[in-house]
């Protein structure tokens, strides 16, 4: 503020109203370093590929090919009545695989209903991962075994779980990171906001990974948000936002690995937005022709994650016909095994309905369980 010359007589009232900052105000975080880049990060097709570890590139390729086949197989299983429903990640494999490979063994993955592929890439048995979608139980695996939280259907509700788990790990002194996956539509939910806010306030070691695949069922992003990008939302919480080409597996892996490393070192949470596209309909039960044009899909097919990586590796001499064949064969073996195992009728355990409601069954549930048991026995006799 400019000081006036002391020779000038000032009326008291005027000095009393000299503007000063509000007493409680202090400058807080500088937003500039938190802002996402103007364009999504790409590695494929740039010189940066040369810095990538060829073993990682080959691994990504093999996983992407396997992931593509897994999506096709799971979709086929819906047609054969072996899965009740399947939300496909065809076209989003780079995101699914990139997320899984960015984590260490001890880390935790918090998938949404769409992310069975990420869970499988993390080591989960595909049949267990698909249990929810087959319908013989909800979560088909022990979450602690591979540190994969239950596939989460209520949108964005898994995000605060990831924050709480990461926070608890940090309190305990474990260097564990949680990576939570969510869709573009899910970012409109209140739990998205609350999770990011808690994470930033607590500086929890968590990475929020948004797959912006263009749609929430039929609703395009323009109807979800007026934000400059979803990554920009990070700034409001005081965490960095990163934008990445979600069909560039190397870029996705790089951005997520950086965010995970940052979280592990105590740097706090990051929001990553991957720009990708859902090639298939929302699920096998959806008709995408009602809300999008074929031309749009074709444009994205030209920017296919498997294709982009395959071209790059081939051009760099890291992949030949033999490598392609080996990847395809491995994927085919996986698909054949999955098909065979899913074609066996699951063993249903109706009495389990009562076993896991409480640690100890209540008297009321014991009565109801006895009723069902009697009904099952009667059914057995009548057969």
């Amino acid at each position: 503020m400019q000081q006036r010359s002391s020779t000038v007589q000032e009326p008291l009232a005027e000095t009393a109203h000299r503007p000063t900052p509000p007493p409680a105000w202090r400058p807080r975080t500088d937003p500039a370093p938190l802002l996402p880049d103007a364009e999504p990060l790409r590695v494929l097709g740039t010189d940066a590929v040369a810095d990538a570890d060829p073993a990682l590139l080959r691994r990504l390729y093999a996983e992407l090919v396997r992931g593509r086949r897994y999506n096709a197989q799971a979709t086929a299983l819906t047609k054969q009545g072996r899965l009740a429903v399947y939300p496909s990640t065809t076209g989003q494999e780079a995101c699914e695989i990139g997320a899984a490979l960015a984590l260490e063994e001890r880390d935790w993955l918090f998938p949404s209903y769409r992310d069975t592929l990420a869970a499988v890439a993390r080591g989960l048995d595909p049949v267990q991962a698909l249990t929810l979608l087959r319908g013989d139980w909800h979560t088909g695996y022990d979450p602690r075994e591979h540190r994969v939280a239950p596939l989460c259907t209520p949108l964005a509700t898994q995000l605060p779980h990831a924050v709480g788990l990461a926070h608890a790990a940090r309190l305990k002194g474990d260097d564990v990171v949680a990576l939570a996956m969510v869709g573009d539509g899910g970012t409109s939910e209140g739990d998205f906001h609350e999770a990011l806010n808690f994470a930033a306030v607590w500086q929890a070691p968590v990475v929020f990974f948004v797959q912006n695949n263009g749609f929430a069922i039929s609703v395009p992003l323009a109807k979800q948000t007026a934000a400059p990008s979803l990554a920009h939302k990070a700034v409001g919480y005081g965490m960095p936002g990163r934008l990445v080409d979600g069909n560039d597996a190397v870029a996705v892996h790089q951005v997520l690995t950086e965010a995970v490393t940052r979280a592990r070192r105590g740097g706090g949470p990051t929001l990553v937005e991957a720009i990708t596209y859902r090639i298939d309909a929302h699920t096998n039960a959806d008709d995408a022709t009602r809300y999008r044009a074929d031309g749009e899909v074709e444009a994205w097919r030209a920017h296919d994650p498997v294709l982009l990586l395959e071209r790059e590796l081939t051009a760099r001499g890291l992949l030949d016909d033999e490598g392609r064949r080996a990847a395809a064969e491995a994927a085919e073996t996986m698909a054949a095994q999955l098909r065979e195992r899913m074609n066996a009728d699951p063993v249903l355990a109706p009495m389990d309905l009562f076993t896991h409601v409480y640690a100890e069954q209540t008297a009321q549930l014991r009565e109801q369980a006895a009723q069902l048991r009697a009904e099952l026995e009667a059914e057995g006799e009548s057969r």
Partner: protein, 345 residues
């Protein structure tokens, strides 16, 4: 889980009894649990420095540090949602919701995750946590501060729903709730926060098993079935009823889920008549379930239909009108009078 002596008796015997409030007993329960078990974490709005708006968490942040008693951001879904993640990692969160009606934003987390996680994961991932909710009216609160929200929780499989009505139970039931491997919605009748008893925190205190009702006043004419904030009203009504020649038994449910059919039915079979009393609305309220259960079990012992004295089926009234809404002694006695006492009925 149960020690031999009751807090009050032992304290008296030791000559150390001094009146304690329900709020103090609740605080003491959390304090003792935190001291015994490092995985117990208290979290909520204003629970740290301030000690909660009802002072129930007073001193916990100071004694155990802010990592164990945490002032969270102001977002109930976020509080409960992060508590789920903490429980997944092996902690035992004790969450405070500031008021009954302000727990509603957390409903999705409660219903879809807290209540179901054990079941969804076939027992692999239990959710040991307590959600403390100050509830009910009678404190002159303006709107959104006096709801009886118990029925929402009762209707959600996977939750235990517990509510103390005495200072002793406040301690004992909260200890049991924190020790439980299942999620417990712990409803604290806020108008009883300042109720006192000779219970002394210094004395060995009893941990109550969850799921057991208790006969607070033995009687022979009829049973008043109640819980939480309505217990003192029922006891008062039972005293007043003696002037009419009725000797009323009063059952304090203490646990709404699981429900103690045995204690309730045994009492009604003895007395042959029953009135359910609660602040919650009558239509599809807790009394509807209780009356049905009693009828199913005691039909041949009943001399009259099971009646309900409940709050009206209206949004909770403004403070100057709340006395018309809350079940009082007269309304209870009126119901008792309608229990078909005429000979030959």
């Amino acid at each position: 889980m149960t020690t031999a002596t009751t807090g009050a008796a032992a304290a008296k015997a030791a000559g150390r009894a001094k009146p304690a409030t329900m709020a103090q007993a609740l605080q003491r329960a959390m304090r003792d649990a935190m001291a015994e078990d490092p995985t117990v974490h208290v979290m909520g709005e204003d629970v740290g420095t301030l000690g909660g708006v009802f002072r129930v968490t007073d001193g916990l942040a100071k004694e155990f540090g802010e990592d164990r008693c945490t002032d969270t951001p102001l977002a109930e879904a976020g509080i409960l949602g992060t508590a789920v993640g903490m429980a997944m990692y092996g902690l035992r969160p004790v969450v405070e919701m500031q008021f009954d009606a302000f727990a509603y934003p957390a409903f999705e987390q409660l219903v879809s995750h807290v209540a179901k996680m054990r079941n969804r994961t076939r027992g692999a991932m239990p959710m040991p946590m307590v959600i403390r909710v100050p509830y009910g009216g009678g404190i002159g609160g303006v709107e959104h501060h006096s709801d009886s929200s118990e029925i929402y929780y009762m209707a959600t499989p996977g939750l235990h729903v517990v509510t103390p009505a005495t200072v002793e139970d406040a301690y004992g039931l909260l200890r049991a709730a924190i020790a439980s491997d299942d999620p417990v919605v712990f409803l604290e009748p806020k108008r009883l926060y300042w109720s006192k008893s000779d219970w002394s925190p210094e004395a060995p205190a009893r941990v109550e098993p969850i799921g057991k009702a208790v006969v607070r006043r033995p009687g022979t004419s009829a049973t008043l079935i109640t819980y939480g904030p309505s217990l003192p009203v029922c006891l008062e009504a039972a005293e007043a009823a003696t002037a009419e020649g009725w000797d009323l038994e009063v059952v304090d449910l203490r646990s709404l889920v699981p429900f103690d059919d045995e204690t309730v039915a045994a009492s009604v079979r003895r007395t042959g008549r029953a009135v359910v009393v609660h602040e919650s609305g009558g239509f599809a309220g807790p009394g509807a379930e209780i009356a049905a259960r009693v009828t199913e079990r005691c039909f041949h012992h009943l001399e009259a239909p099971v009646l309900r004295v409940a709050g009206f089926d209206i949004p909770y009234p403004p403070p100057m009108l709340e006395r018309h809404h809350l079940p009082g002694v007269d309304r209870i006695l009126d119901a008792v009078a309608r229990l078909q006492w005429e000979a030959g009925n």
